[in-house]
Symmetry: C2
Subunit: 440 residues, 2 copies
């Protein structure tokens, strides 16, 4: 390893995905956490990374605690809504300590899969019965601590959640998610601004959905969020659309548009069941859409209009959402494969477009970008014989060998450097949580 | 390891999936390649298999050489038909030696993923230009040798292929697939019967499709196959249905039915685009259907009527087909997830039903069944915290640790016991093949 003035390594990548596509024998230098030099065709020297090195994957939509629901199919969750009941039972048992431990393990799983950044759509704010913790942002701080421990960037979206449905009261579990009104939500949130360091941790806002935030309260959230990230669950299930049309006479997208929620800093999550007018509103406002393909199939949401959105100029990103799967390759493949299933054509999205969706705005490693790098083995049984440009089509999370976040190693040779035995931690936390939920 | 009279091991499984579902601490004894005893709640002794042990996965539809197309998305294969052109270019370069080497590596990849049996839909019979090899079954023997080397059971389906489309001549590459007429196919096939040992290697027949076998020749194939396995590609693409209706005035299913191709030993592969009458014909005849979910999404085939078939009483099995993915867990999830995407409900198939599809008729490990066992880690980041019954929903091929076929170890602690470095072999064979295809 060749030392630099900053102590950061010079990397030599067998292949690296640059803005023009994959290149061979690429030397990458890092300075102050950013890429300072990229040289293809370089002599093999420094820290050697065999395989292909790509920009870090960005997980644009996560509910960390949903990980506890993976692989428990024995219940009666035959619809999105009955699945949600299961999810509420898990939510009801978490406290700041157990959530910090669980989220640390979940974020470590994400890092091992190649995610270098996670956007957490956080709505589990208060104690049981809705009573605030001594620090009313204790759960948010638990997530900040978890991301730091796992070495992953965090955008914490503190979510406004006020109602149990349009015109419906909160259920007992939902009281843990809720503030009294949007102003109270904003007041609680202000002290949390100090977590935003402009680099590793960002604070943003979310509207849970038009189900959970009444139309009249939406502008308050939009105003608080102005200039920073604002996310919202949008039209994941047709029942939301039906209730919204019945109550407001407009689709959820139109309600959000009229209330000033849409815009270039806004990300609409799912956007599965849209009208042509909805697509036009998202495009005209510069709103981006976060697809969560592995969740949308797990929950039976249906196939959204991904290529229609793309053709209208709507930017797309990807999220692991319910953690049914934590695998950015599978998420990228899902975006493409669901299009193929729905429209019976291939290659709706090019490999470069899929990489762009999966890694944020950058479509390759470039000077000036944060040194968030992921190396993927090209010598596993899954990836042997592929073209480097086919890595998103063939690899899986198990093929990620090395992960660097802001120039610091988080994963080396498939081992997390900071979280000891993440799988054992997941098992311990989930088992404890699920046993608690089974008690009378 | 406790020795038995036969030398086979006594296994102790942390969890094992029995006919009633997963059980803990299961001792399994093996005699003459079959399970001779299953005792849940046994003391930990013998060869310990941590995780969950399930019946071996059955890959009911494979084209081994398609593995060379995985992860090469740079071409212009924007439809099933242009993808087929790419596939033909690869097919055109194989000979018995290179095919044996490639298929050995592909079958080793399958074994590592937990497949203990593969049904190869084999149509690459002859040399370039359609000239028979000295042994006209040399390519079939290459596949038999490959399966033996990889330690996996093989059902070799020798495929009848006569035309380039309904009423269309063969293209130059297709001449390698073709016999002059069905009687010539049967005549070539007879000497191959000697490979069938009633255990590790079975011989069966296939009709490539109604595209490739004229209606008048179908009864000859059906007659040859009588009493043994007979597979046929069915209605994978709507273009096949359209051409068939135009030529014969009947759907492909009806054409096969009238010709005597359907029946309890017949498996229709894909069956994606069916009428209600087609479903009824498949059910009435006892025909089973092989879904290939990861291929059907990769090739943009669309979502077939899986639950409609199941409700009509049609048995379902699963195949990796094009090898875009070699992962029986992903295949089982695909069967369920495509249903969820199409119908917006969850749990169309129970975990036991998915296991049954993925492993053949057995829905769990039982006395008398072949000792084909697969152990899946429950302590990876993917499987930590799940219920054993959720293994198909959460695990992947990378979680398979041990594989036993007919009581013999094929994979131990993630290493193939008989094929050295399968990934390197895949890379070498595929690289050579693809370089050859680029030559003028």
């Amino acid at each position: 390893m060749t030392g630099r003035a900053t102590g950061a390594p010079t990397l030599w990548c067998e292949h690296a995905w640059l803005p023009d596509g994959p290149a061979a024998a690429v030397a990458i230098e890092i300075s102050d956490g950013r890429i300072s030099s990229v040289r293809p065709g370089a002599a093999r020297a420094g820290t050697v990374l065999d395989g292909i090195t790509v920009p870090g994957f960005v997980n644009a939509h996560s509910h960390a605690f949903h990980r506890a629901l993976r692989g428990h199919p024995a219940g009666h969750a035959t619809s999105f809504w009955s699945w949600r009941d299961d999810m509420y039972r898990v939510a009801d048992r978490l406290d700041p300590d157990s959530y910090r431990r669980l989220a640390t393990a979940v974020y470590a799983e994400m890092a091992l899969a190649g995610y270098t950044s996670v956007t957490e759509f956080h709505y589990l704010h208060h104690g049981r019965g809705g009573h605030p913790y001594d620090d009313p942002n204790a759960m948010g701080h638990a997530l900040v601590d978890a991301a730091a421990a796992a070495g992953i960037r965090l955008t914490l979206l503190d979510t406004c959640y006020l109602a149990g449905g349009i015109g419906e009261p909160l259920s007992p579990v939902q009281r843990r998610f809720a503030d009294a009104h949007a102003d109270a939500w904003a007041e609680r949130l202000d002290p949390l601004l100090k977590i935003d360091d402009g680099d590793r941790v960002r604070l943003g806002a979310a509207v849970h959905s038009v189900r959970a935030v009444p139309e009249a309260e939406l502008p308050i959230v939009a105003e608080w969020a102005a200039g920073g990230p604002l996310h919202v669950h949008l039209s994941e299930q047709t029942a939301e659309n039906e209730a919204c049309l019945a109550a407001y006479g407009r689709t959820p997208t139109a309600v959000l548009d009229y209330a000033g929620v849409l815009g270039p800093d806004t990300v609409a999550v799912h956007a599965t069941h849209l009208t042509g007018d909805d697509v036009a509103r998202l495009a005209a406002s510069g709103t981006r859409v976060c697809l969560c393909p592995t969740t949308e199939r797990d929950l039976g949401d249906g196939i959204g209009p991904a290529s229609q959105l793309h053709e209208a100029g709507v930017g797309l990103c990807l999220g692991s959402d319910s953690q049914a799967v934590v695998d950015p390759f599978e998420e990228a493949r899902g975006a493409e494969m669901h299009e193929r299933l729905a429209h019976r054509v291939r290659q709706r999205f090019s490999p470069a477009q899929l990489l762009s969706m999966a890694t944020g705005s950058t479509a390759g490693l470039a000077v000036g970008a944060p040194a968030d790098l992921v190396t993927v083995a090209l010598d596993s049984v899954r990836t042997a014989g592929i073209a480097p440009v086919g890595v998103l089509h063939a690899a899986g999370a198990a093929d990620v060998t090395d992960v660097l976040v802001g120039g610091r190693w988080v994963v080396r040779e498939r081992v997390h450097r900071h979280v000891e035995r993440p799988a054992a931690a997941l098992a311990a936390e989930i088992t404890a949580l699920r046993e608690a939920t089974c008690r009378p």
